[in-house]
Symmetry: C3
Subunit: 268 residues, 3 copies
Amino acid sequence: MEKTRFIESTCEILKQLRECSPLVLCLTNSVVQPITANLLLAAGAAPVMLCDDKEVGELVAGGATGAFLVNLGTLSEAQAQTMRTAVEAAGARVPWVLDPVAVGALSLRTRFADELLKKKPTLIRGNASEIMALAGFGASARGPESTCGSDAAVEAARKLAAQSGAVVLVTGAVDYVTDGTEVFAFGNGNALATRVTGVGCSMGALAAACLAVAQTPLEAAVANALIMGIVGDIAAETARGSGSFAVELIDALYNLSENDVRARARIL
Amino acid sequence: MEKTRFIESTCEILKQLRECSPLVLCLTNSVVQPITANLLLAAGAAPVMLCDDKEVGELVAGGATGAFLVNLGTLSEAQAQTMRTAVEAAGARVPWVLDPVAVGALSLRTRFADELLKKKPTLIRGNASEIMALAGFGASARGPESTCGSDAAVEAARKLAAQSGAVVLVTGAVDYVTDGTEVFAFGNGNALATRVTGVGCSMGALAAACLAVAQTPLEAAVANALIMGIVGDIAAETARGSGSFAVELIDALYNLSENDVRARARIL
Amino acid sequence: MEKTRFIESTCEILKQLRECSPLVLCLTNSVVQPITANLLLAAGAAPVMLCDDKEVGELVAGGATGAFLVNLGTLSEAQAQTMRTAVEAAGARVPWVLDPVAVGALSLRTRFADELLKKKPTLIRGNASEIMALAGFGASARGPESTCGSDAAVEAARKLAAQSGAVVLVTGAVDYVTDGTEVFAFGNGNALATRVTGVGCSMGALAAACLAVAQTPLEAAVANALIMGIVGDIAAETARGSGSFAVELIDALYNLSENDVRARARIL
């Protein structure tokens, strides 16, 4: 049964993150670097953030990084070049995540995301607007926030996965994971997460960490959706607002047990 | 009576921030991006931060952003160019805030602030040293901190407002708002805010959010002073130091009610 | 007796940080800027972060900054140039700290750290891998994390101090301080600090703040090790995970008393 399989693979990934502490290169935007690093550390992974083109190439080519993230949040021409370098150095050896922040709303990144799509990301994580725009469904995002619910993007996600070969994760009130054939839905998580900058972006980084230790990209995407959704549920139980929610979220991930995953997973 | 008018316009702005969730472009320094985004999200606004010149021009020209912030904290030549692009694209259509961090202490930004001043910012927020330097009173700031109390800058603020056409907000133990004719003083707030990086800079960002929904720049500046001062008062009641103060501040803004504004406003 | 001397000099430095509030320029990586600024503010110091080459030169040459930090975490060619400018402007007048993040793991920064070493940093802070690499012991770091305990780097630290003229601080489960002749060991601190991004990097910044007010670089390094170790101990007593640990750490530093230092110092 899918439910049991996903819960067990998620527990195994959680365990591997802590035992192997994979090095995860995050090529991400400047706003979310601290929370991204702190959530990866809380999960057991080892984040590394660089901006020099040569250093990025050296790290990825050297095989030290288990996976990496490409997040377009504060894209510049220089950073786009560094991202190209990472993707070239990775070849088919190192899995990577594309997080197409605000694609559809701004033209430089929309073109660049199309370019990256041809380089075969292993996993794509976005909100509904971003996934619809990337799939060519002509969505109109509004900055980094989605203008519609994740339900609206399920068909776009399935098409994007089928065409690109990537597993696609659409995040929202319900998270959807698809490999282009099947679609799985996950109901954990709390709306407070949309009031803390970088929770979505950190999810892309955690997806990369999961890829570094998972058996398959599908299991990595599922683990990512379950883990972040469940820690959102736990954090919301004690948070008194969006400030304490951010602190509780990190604590919840630091303390997350396999039993929490088994007891709380909402696979729809 | 002014007091009642200001309290009611502040309550209305608070309500509008949550109902309209204005998109606010923050061209700000790298140190304060996370807290700036988190405070705007807690207030109900939708922050967006970009660094590419073309994307900034596209966003502002496209009319998506309700207002924007120009904060000189970690100014570079490239960022100055992006700020020029935003200001040109805005024309007289999109209101914007100038936060002249450390102007007076460093010459590149002092010259650039003078250049920006001619482009007619809608609102200027600074500490006493910065406002005095910008007004040509020859203050000697000490990095990003003020070397004197806000009282010392009232005359400079009034002159700056009269000459530039901007509403000026001087922040300190007492916050002053002036349109060049009248000066209003606000007594809320706690000194712990000066021990958390980015509270002042986030105030500039919240000023932009208020501009996006306010009837007048004067009401936006007043709402900004009252809201940030009151959440500072609330946060200080439970904070155990500057670390928990930052968390409580965000929670307080997230939970701020119109009744809190009415009960706590200290209009002097 | 050394113990008493170190405790008294640390108490004096703590007092001076709060009374003099030294301006500390942090040329540091983009990930850790917020926590670095917040920990310096909690200690009483006044952080300033700039990225423009001319502004950095102007600030250091003008004598406003009491000390500065050079942290290689997200090094770029442009930032390397700014760091050269700061070091040249400092001459022998302004003390500075070198934090050789991930040196040994990446070649650009390894070469640049060697170049900086010839410019006579006052104090060097690193983990075991970084200090061993900088001393030419051929360590293989793994991104920003050390691959061995601090004990393994004691001999490398002593050699590095003797050759460079800098006081060297190796941080880890035990912190070691050496001037090239004597080695002192400090046992405070908690492993949770390794699960929060920027605690180590902030320690380099606090070392610079201590240099700005200390009688000698050795006393500054000792105060740095004791203060950060003790606040780590205090924070760990109430933290519920790595998220709340970060908040508690800042609160603990904000509230740290001389009596805490006297009661808790673990000089081995």
